[in-house]
């Protein structure tokens, strides 16, 4: 399970953007989190991806409480979660070729040897051609770069996927293609998904259930965890 209990988080302690939010994703489940922009849902997604330490509240990942975030999180927890953000250009190192971008988590976890085979396999999965893999981010379109970012998120075979507005910048066909990649991966591995977005039609079609930001935060207020 991926459990978020009474999370309060933000960048300014006096004005947290997330107050008292609780949400649970069971193994293999796809949950859509729907909310307007600026509501704090992206911050909550970063907490769930272990990239942002909450001011209070707890994250429990497969039964183990998370005590450390970002690079200080233990490897077993860090590698259990894959994350894709809205803007691929902000999350991709502009100096890396797409193949290196996808392999980055493998290198970071000392699995360099498996990189070529794994990258080739994933490139095929997300629909990137060998030619595109040799290019750097500024030489590909947003859609192609986002395909690479999704491949990077899957490279360590995470049990949980966090997709924060993954398709907000993309056209309808690329959106459908990336969602299909995520769903094929989940079917094959039983991974759980938290998809954060503002498009109800998309989340309803994609996920097992869609929860509204208001209920995530107010339900927590009524029944503190």
């Amino acid at each position: 399970m991926l459990e978020l209990h009474a999370i309060t988080a933000g960048y300014d302690r006096r004005a947290p953007v997330v107050r008292d939010a609780s949400l649970t994703v069971t193994p293999g489940e796809a949950v859509g989190l729907l909310g307007p922009s600026g509501c704090g849902k992206s911050t909550l997604a970063r907490v769930a991806a272990l990239l942002h330490r909450p001011a209070s509240g707890t994250v429990v990942l497969d039964g183990t409480s998370v005590r450390h975030y970002r690079h200080r999180a233990p490897r077993a927890q860090r590698t259990a979660v894959g994350v894709v953000f809205q803007q691929p250009r902000l999350s991709a190192d502009p100096r890396l070729r797409l193949s290196d971008l996808i392999a980055e988590p493998l290198r970071a976890t000392g699995r360099r040897a498996s990189a070529p085979a794994r990258v080739a396999e994933l490139a095929d999965t997300v629909g990137l051609t060998p030619d595109l893999l040799t290019r750097r981010p500024h030489e590909v379109s947003d859609g192609q770069l986002q395909r690479a970012c999704l491949a990077r998120a899957l490279v360590l075979r995470p049990r949980w996927l966090i997709c924060d507005e993954m398709t907000a910048m993309l056209d309808a066909s690329t959106t459908a293609a990336l969602v299909r990649v995520v769903e094929d991966y989940r079917t094959a591995t039983g991974a759980g998904l938290l998809a954060v977005g503002h498009d109800q039609t998309l989340l309803d079609r994609w996920c097992d259930r869609t929860v509204h930001w208001d209920t995530v935060t107010s339900a927590a207020r009524k029944t503190p965890a």
Partner: protein
Amino acid sequence: MTERPPAPVPAPAETGAVTAPPPAPAAGAAKTEPAKTEAAKTEAAKTGAAKTGAAMTEAAKTEAAKTEAVKAGPATALPAPPAGAGAAGRAPVLSVRGLSVRFLLPGGRRIAAVTDAHFDVAPGECLALIGESGCGKSVLASALLGLLPANAQTAGSAHLGDLDLLTAGERTLARTVRGRRIGLIPQSPAAHLTPVRTIRSQTEETVAQLTGERNRSALRTAAEQAARRAEFPLDHLDRHPHELSGGLAQRAATALALIGDAPLLLADEPTTGLDRDLVDRTVDELRRHVDADRALLIITHDLAAAERVADRVAVMYAGRIVELSEADAFFGAPGPRHPYSRGLLEALPDRSFTPIPGLPPELGDLPDGCAFAPRCDRATGLCATLPPVTGPVACHHPVPAPARTPEDVRA
């Protein structure tokens, strides 16, 4: 990347290309036949009401009617435009013919960003240019604004009244076109607004620039008027951009775009990153300006936004406009006729949510035939040749059109 034998840069003129409507009878011709004017206006009002999801206000109608009267004023009798020409058979504000843009890269590589685009936009009409990122639609916008980088070559023409935007000098474009004859509604208002100054001071400055007004109280009044037109709340004028919500920042940018009273508005991905209800509000506001007789060219990958705002839709694939259709027919029945357009629409989450297989081709390495062929389930051997562009669809095997009445037939 393989280099193709260099194509002549002025792409061969393909007459009768994907252009609907056909050119109006005479440049600057105002529609004069009273009955037709009335009918067209009512039609426009109806469309407007339907598009904005709310009845068009009486005030807006009067406003539109007034504009209409002024526009039609001194015109002499001219033959009625051919049936089905343009939004209301009016002379287009913007008329693009055979527009091509090539980027020359070091090493002799050529990127065919836009190839042989033909379209018109009439007053009181919104044309949505849709397609995936990298298909050339933003390059087309830059070409119209004279904002292409130095390594770009253009061919064809893009007439804004008598002025060809493609050959006009930077001085003309800067002084008389951008802001004055074309109002630009930017992709990211946050980047367009100056962060350290209030909306009021930026609005007043734009008024001063565009009108030459120097009187402080006149500037203040004009700035407030501009804000009102874009429904920007006056009590927020003294705020800085970062103190505004995304929606209000977008309205502030729209207010600036409207100051020059430009007959053509160009909106480049105006809804990227906005929530659905903010998208709806933004395009509804754009629609209001169309209903007040402006022409709007909106460039977007957001099909729902396009459906909400547009009268006509132009679909771009690999640098070419492959289909140009009435929005109602495109999004409703009978639906798009080009296989790519069909695929794009079917990919929507409220339709079949099925992606088009494969990837779009590289603009530096386009095939000689139809660029969609490797992804197309209707492709045949014929598709290795460039599809003729004689109708509203550039395709050898378009999805058959249902039987139509003669007035419905385009081009």
